[in-house]
């Protein structure tokens, strides 16, 4: 059965691995130049490309590896040929899933290793930043493109493709559904799961002269929100002003409106450099800034948890596929 699986799987598998080799060569050439630099602005394209590739890989694995391996057989009827050799359906599916999942995890692991290594100087610098100028490795988009989470993504995508193929039995339809479901899961993970798997840390920060890094207002001079300096290397979930009773406030009370220049009104602009001090009077009225965040040192615990979640989802889909398999004809 391994022979047949390999015979069917080798073209898509080798195509993807050939692509990985090309990516590896590009990263291997450009990577050493990044060490010791502090300005990476000329690397925007490659950096963006690495992120894109990390998300493209699970999609390719699910759509072009997972779906055809099973759905094409069911669609063309060859399953009735192979199931009537001396091979049980369970062994047929088990071999396909085993080979495919291992290949998917290997491909994702290698790619993630290369990208994580290539981007390590950039990540290290982003890790020091306390504003939102650079995306650190805890930020939602980068997080799933580093470390071991991509391995879980790829395994899940493959099993998803197989399961959808078993349900729909039509290759093209299964490809489309796999893509949509995979995108939904990859989107739901940072939005609905990752912030909550470990309880976020909460800081109530007093305003000082220097910790306000952003003020947002509208053209009527109303200040809608301010942001304070954030912990370095963290994924900040909320950065909001709370009143003495702990409720979030927006817009801010009107006694700070005079702190910022107001082009629309005939009010003399406040002296430059005094904005911080002016805003600090929020503290005198009991206002604080509430910052909830996942600190940078949780990168690996969160990676392991997310890998475990994806592997658990894959196991669930595997169980479902074997269950459905018994009643296929």
């Amino acid at each position: 059965m391994t022979w047949l699986t390999w015979r069917q799987f080798r073209v898509p598998a080798l195509s993807v691995f050939a692509g990985l080799v090309v990516i590896g060569v590009v990263l291997g050439i450009t990577g050493p130049e990044l060490v010791g630099r502090t300005d990476f602005s000329d690397q925007d394209v490659v950096y963006g490309g690495t992120i894109l590739v990390m998300y493209l890989l699970p999609a390719v694995v699910g759509v072009f590896w997972g779906v055809p391996l099973v759905a094409r057989e069911l669609e063309s009827g060859t399953h009735s040929l192979v199931w009537n050799q001396t091979v049980t359906r369970r062994r047929w599916l088990g071999t396909k899933l085993g080979v495919g999942v291992l290949a998917a995890m290997l491909a994702a692991g290698l790619l993630s290793l290369a990208v994580t290594w290539w981007a390590s100087p950039i990540d290290a610098m982003a890790n020091q930043a306390t504003d939102r100028g650079m995306l650190n490795r805890m930020s939602p988009v980068v997080f799933a493109a580093r470390g071991i989470v991509p391995i879980g993504n790829a395994a899940f995508a493959f099993v998803l493709g197989v399961a959808v193929g078993i349900v729909l039995r039509r290759t093209v339809a299964a490809m489309a559904v796999t893509l949509v479901v995979l995108a939904a899961v990859l989107l739901a993970m940072p939005l609905l799961a990752r912030p909550y798997v470990l309880p976020a840390l909460d800081d109530n920060i007093a305003f000082t002269d220097s910790n306000i890094v952003g003020i947002r207002g509208n053209d009527k001079g109303v200040i809608e929100s301010v942001r304070v300096r954030e912990p370095a290397g963290a994924w900040v979930l909320t950065n909001e002003t709370i009143d003495p009773s702990g409720n979030a406030v927006s817009p801010l009370p009107d006694f700070v409106e005079g702190c910022v220049p107001q082009p629309g009104r005939n009010v003399p602009p406040p002296p430059s450099g005094s904005v911080g001090g002016c805003m600090a009077q929020l503290g005198e009225h009991g206002y604080r800034q509430h910052v909830a965040y996942q600190p940078g040192y949780r990168f690996w615990p969160l990676q392991w948890i997310e890998l475990a979640i994806f592997l658990a989802l894959s196991t669930l889909l595997t169980w479902f596929s074997f269950r459905r398999l018994r009643h296929l004809s």
Binding site: M1, S76, G77, L81, Q85, T86, T88, S329
Partner: protein, 293 residues
């Protein structure tokens, strides 16, 4: 000892029954034809026997085991589906390699000899084969696996008359050589007449009659005589069909006993006539279920 033993077998798809109350016993060493109109349940029966489908009701035992229950069972039963599926991306040679890898009892020499005799190019991709060649390749996989029972669903449907005859001759040669039992379905009696010694007629998802071909021919008669009521026939004469004109009555009956009534003109029926009588008269008063001997 039977190769196929079905008791009250039924299969329901959503709300429609594709097979109901099917009771059959097939002895080893026979070539059994399964005949019936389109949608009569022939494929369903073969699919259940091969383990591709699970029956909704009843039980079935094939070569002493539950169909599709494990590798040992799968090794005993060969099945070629109606569409004769092959992997279009794999060459003929690859298919033989597939058979060798997936079947412990694989007869590689037999497979290669067959491919050579049929004239298939081992290097050719299966997707480029003609319908007849595909059917031959699928049959080769089924035979070279050396099963005890070979189930063929409409094996000649895609073939032209010449290829049809060659395919069936070839099948007969294989049967004679390896002593395998065969059940094959067709909606054309002419195909089955040449190769089958047993016949099962399926109509409206039920077994209408099953038996030895010779017996079927010997026990069915067409009686023609002056007009009379068919209820006045002796009790051992099962009426399959009856036609009346103003003065004449024609009945087709099945009976073991000789026809003694001198008013009848007795004529025999061809196998095709017998099958057509059962197909076109699905609702007879007396059920004509019989077990194969």
């Amino acid at each position: 000892m039977t190769v196929l033993d079905a008791q009250g077998l039924g299969k329901r798809y959503k709300r429609m029954w594709a097979l109901t109350g099917c009771t059959l016993e097939i002895e080893p060493g026979h070539v059994t034809g399964l005949v019936g109109p389109n949608g009569a349940g022939k494929s369903t029966l073969l699919n259940i026997a091969s383990g591709m489908l699970e029956p909704t009701t009843g039980t079935i035992e094939v070569c002493g085991g539950v169909p599709g229950s494990g590798p040992a069972q799968l090794a005993k039963v060969g099945y070629v589906a109606q569409s004769a599926p092959v992997y279009s991306g794999l060459s003929v040679e690859d298919h033989l390699r597939l058979g060798a890898r997936l079947n412990p009892g694989w007869d590689d020499e037999l497979a290669h000899r067959r491919i050579e005799r049929i004239g298939l190019n081992p290097k050719q991709h299966a997707g480029k084969l003609s319908g007849g060649q595909r059917a031959q390749l699928a049959l080769t996989l089924g035979i070279a696996k050396r099963p005890e029972l070979l189930l063929l669903d409409e094996p000649v449907a895609a073939l032209d008359p010449l290829a049809r005859r060659e395919f069936l001759q070839d099948l007969m040669a294989a049967v004679a050589e390896h002593g395998v039992s065969v059940v094959l379905s067709s909606h054309l009696v002419a195909d089955l007449e040449r190769v089958c010694d047993q016949l099962i007629v399926l109509v409206d998802s039920q077994v209408r009659i099953a038996g030895d071909v010779e017996d079927l021919l010997a026990t069915h008669h067409r009686l023609t005589g002056p007009r009379r009521d068919v209820d006045s026939l002796p009790g051992d004469q099962h009426v399959i069909s009856a036609h009346h004109t103003d003065r004449q009555t024609t009945v087709v009956v099945r009976t073991e006993a000789p026809i003694l009534d001198p008013v009848w003109t007795v004529a025999g029926l061809t196998l095709e006539d017998v099958v057509l009588e059962y197909m076109s008269n699905p609702a007879t008063a007396r059920p004509a279920l019989e077990v194969l001997r």
